[in-house]
Structure formats: C-alpha cells, structure tokens
C-alpha cells in the first residue's frame, strides 16, 4: 500500500507554498510508531524546487528532512480536527487544516470526500491517548503511588475517559458514526474498536486465556457502544445521565458474571449431590441383595 517515495515527494512539493511564516510546530501526538523520523523540527518549506534528497530505492537511506506522504497526511488531519466543530467531518475541514499548515487547499484532494480518513485518524488518536493514560495509571499503581482500582471502577473510568474525548466534537459525532459504518470503513473502524477494548481489558488486568477472553471483550464492547449512543442523545449538564447509564451497565455486567459463576458452582454441587445419591442407592441395593 506504500506509494514509492518519488511520487510522495512530487505530491508534497506540488502542494508546498514557499512561505517561511507557516513553519508551525506539527500537532502530532507522541505515540505514533510508524514514523521513523519525527516530523518535529523539520523544515519542508526550505526546499522549493531544489534538488530532490538522495535516497536509495527500496526504502533505503532517506535524508533527514524527508517527510513521507503518510506523515504529511497525518499532520494535515491533525490540523483539520480544529475545524471539525464548524465544518463537520468534511473535505472543507481538511482544506482548512491544510491551509493552517501553509499548504494549498488542494491537499484535501488527497483524501476521500466523505471525511472517512479524518474520522479514522481521530479515533486512532483518541485510542492512543487512552492507551497512554492507562499506561500512566498503571505505572503509578506499580510504583505504589496509587491504589489499584476494583474492576468495575476501572472499566467505568476508562470508558468515561475515552468518551469524554468526543465532547468537543459531539455535535458532529453522529455523522461520524454513520460514516464509520460504511462497508468501506468497517474493517478499519472495527479494528480500532477491538484494539481499544482489548487495551482497556489488558490494563484492567485481564489474564484470561479461554473463552472468557471473548466474553469479556464482547460485553465491554456492548457497554461502550450503548453508552456512546446514549451520549449522543444526552442533554443533561456535564453528561451526568450518560455516566449514570455507564455505571449501571458496568454494574449489570458484574452481576451477570457473578451470577454466571454462581450458576456454575450450583450446577457442580447439584451434580455432586446426584452422584452421591446414585452411589448410596447402588450401595443400598447391593447390601439388600447380599442380605
């Protein structure tokens, strides 16, 4: 899927306006792992039509200020998020974002017109932020500076933290949800959803290696999705109705799992009882036969 660097450079060069004022610090998050050279500090605008940086074919040595197409897209989308509350998840928002980076509005042409990539980018960023947050919390607990939360509280807090990231974009989020459900986007959006849920369970301390692995993730996915939908309709101050809904759903899940384990132990006890009864009866029969 990776376009050759030559084409990427041509595309980038065509879009760059030679302007020194727009050397803004890129707003990338710190946890991107796909990028070899951090975009911070590099100055693309200083190479107008000049000689292309030398590179050796198959992803070999690339000069330090070389920016891949992917990194450029990432920067544009991050910048575009600022304009989403006003323009929605659209090519206009992307165009505005490109403008703030000193690029031509034609940069929006790199993306689909329905804003899919912008939304997926946003979800990915939110998931990364959540991951970082959970990791930090885990470190604090490991260092003994914080108490380990009980599971229901942990899940509640994690889902709440993640949903709160939607608040600045809440007006336009229903639109985003429907775009995420387009068949074209389903593999990516499902992938992002499942890895987020898996992350939450991992940091919650889940170590199941049997079918519970699936049950737990399915239940949490259900909780997350329903809470998200409730949040869309919620007009209470500070979304308190949503958080109460979340609390109830998590409590339900805990009850369900307790009930399930109770049913299992009751079942086992009943079986033991029946076996005992069977042995007793057979002993009684044997002793009667002997008499």
């Amino acid at each position: 899927q990776h376009y050759p660097p030559l084409r990427a450079l041509q595309a980038s060069a065509a879009l760059r306006r030679v302007s020194d004022e727009h050397k803004k610090e890129p707003l990338t998050s710190s946890s991107q792992q796909h990028f070899d050279s951090p975009p911070a500090g590099h100055q693309p605008e200083q190479k107008p039509q000049g000689p292309r940086p030398s590179y050796t074919g198959q992803g070999g040595q690339e000069s330090e200020d070389y920016e891949s197409e992917e990194q450029l897209q990432h920067r544009i989308l991050t910048a575009a998020l600022e304009f989403v509350p006003e323009h929605g998840w659209t090519a206009e928002a992307i165009a505005e974002g490109a403008k703030t980076l000193g690029l031509s509005v034609a940069a929006a042409g790199m993306f689909h017109s329905d804003g899919s990539e912008l939304i997926l980018h946003f979800v990915s960023e939110c998931n990364s932020k959540l991951s970082e947050l959970l990791q930090k919390e885990q470190k604090l607990v490991q260092l003994g500076e914080a108490e380990k939360k009980p599971i229901d509280e942990f899940l509640r807090d994690a889902v709440e933290a993640r949903l709160r990231m939607l608040i600045p974009y809440i007006e336009k989020w229903p639109q985003a949800l429907s775009i995420l459900l387009l068949p074209r986007n389903i593999p990516s959006s499902l992938n992002l959803l499942t890895s987020m849920i898996d992350d939450i369970w991992h940091y919650a301390g889940d170590q199941s290696t049997d079918f519970n692995w699936y049950t737990r993730r399915a239940v949490l996915t259900g909780i997350y999705n329903t809470t998200e939908l409730v949040m869309m309709q919620d007009s209470s101050p500070g979304f308190e109705d949503t958080w109460r809904f979340l609390e109830n759903r998590v409590a339900d899940a805990m009850t369900m799992s307790n009930t399930a384990s109770q049913v299992q132990s009751t079942g086992e006890a009943v079986v033991q009882g029946l076996m005992g009864a069977a042995v007793t009866v057979s002993n009684a029969e044997t002793s009667r036969a002997v008499r």
Partner: protein, 193 residues
C-alpha cells in the same frame, strides 16, 4: 475516482513488543496454546476410560507433562497479548471425545491415538522452530527454547506410545491417518481463528 488519496495506515493502540514479528508470533502462540489445551483434553478422555487400568499411571504421567505445557503457554499468551482461538470450547469437547473414543478401543487404541497426535505435534513444533530460526534466532531465543523443550517432550510421549504396542492396534494405519488429518485441520483452523 473519489479522492484518489493514498490509503492511510492507522496507528494501532497496541504497543508492539519492540521489533517482534507480531502476526507470526501471534499465530505460533495461539496454535500451540490450542494444541496443548487439546492434548490435555485427549489425555483426560483417555484417563476417564483407562484410568484404573494398567496403563493408567503412564497416561497420567504424560497428562501431567501436558498440563505443564499448557500452563507455560497460558503465561506466554498473556505476556505477548495473544488472542486465544475461538474454537477452544470445540477443542474441549473434541479432544475429550477423541481421547475417550480411542481408549474405548482398548489400551492399544489409546496408545495409537497418542502416537498419532504426538507425531503430528512434533512435526508441527519442528516447523515452528524452523520458522523462528529463519526469522531471528536471537530475538526469539526464549520462545525457541520453550518450543524445543516441548518438542522433545512430545517426541518422548510418541516413543512411550510405541513402546506400549500402539502399532498392534487393529486398523492402526487407518486410525493413525484419520487422527493426523484431524490434527492438521485443527492446526490450520487454530492458527487463523
């Protein structure tokens, strides 16, 4: 052509344990975990039928080793954050039925089943060892050690099976082929789902 943009590679939230080939390791651990789980259930089935017979202690000992193997893979699964196969409940039942079924054919039948399964598993472990060595023997040193050890254990079980007259089972080759086909299918599926 709408947009015509390059497909965006999205950042996964999963922190890759630096530099390991996650998809390959995922598959390896998932299928091995499923295999040890299945082996456990097979021996459980055999013990249910032959537990009180003369080969009971032999089967019990092999079963104990499989339990250790499973424990190790449970640990590795958590450490590498690998998803278990969805088919676990199915292997639970299928393994037990295979074990009990082969044991109902008699002691030799149970041993034949053991020979067939352990041969499949040894070959499978050898393939994995080759894969890992091709990838990077240094990076996967610990995993390689575990798999080599387990392969040796399974080979030992295979030899024990042969010692206990597995080959004298009626329809031995048919039984063996059928079981090994089943193992191949199980391995194929568990790697993927």
């Amino acid at each position: 052509v709408p947009g015509g943009g390059a497909p965006l590679r999205l950042c996964s939230t999963r922190v890759a344990q630096d530099g390991i080939n996650k998809p390959v390791i995922d598959r390896i651990i998932r299928v091995d975990h499923a295999g040890e789980y299945g082996a456990n259930r097979i021996y459980a089935g055999q013990m249910a039928v032959l537990g009180r017979s003369s080969v009971g202690p032999v089967i019990q000992q092999m079963w104990n080793q499989e339990k250790d193997h499973l424990k190790k893979f449970n640990e590795l699964m958590v450490a590498y954050r690998v998803r278990p196969t969805v088919l676990l409940p199915f292997w639970n039942v299928a393994g037990f039925v295979l074990g009990a079924g082969s044991a109902l054919l008699g002691k030799k039948g149970a041993m034949a089943c053991t020979v067939a399964v352990e041969e499949s598993i040894s070959e499978h472990y050898n393939n994995q060892i080759r894969t890992l060595i091709e990838e990077d023997p240094e990076k996967y040193k610990e995993l390689l050690q575990v798999i080599k050890q387990f392969r040796d254990d399974e080979q030992e079980h295979h030899d024990i099976g042969l010692e206990h007259d597995a080959e004298a089972t009626p329809a031995y080759s048919v039984l063996k082929t059928a079981i090994q086909l089943g193992c191949k299918a199980a391995i194929f599926l568990s790697e993927r789902i």
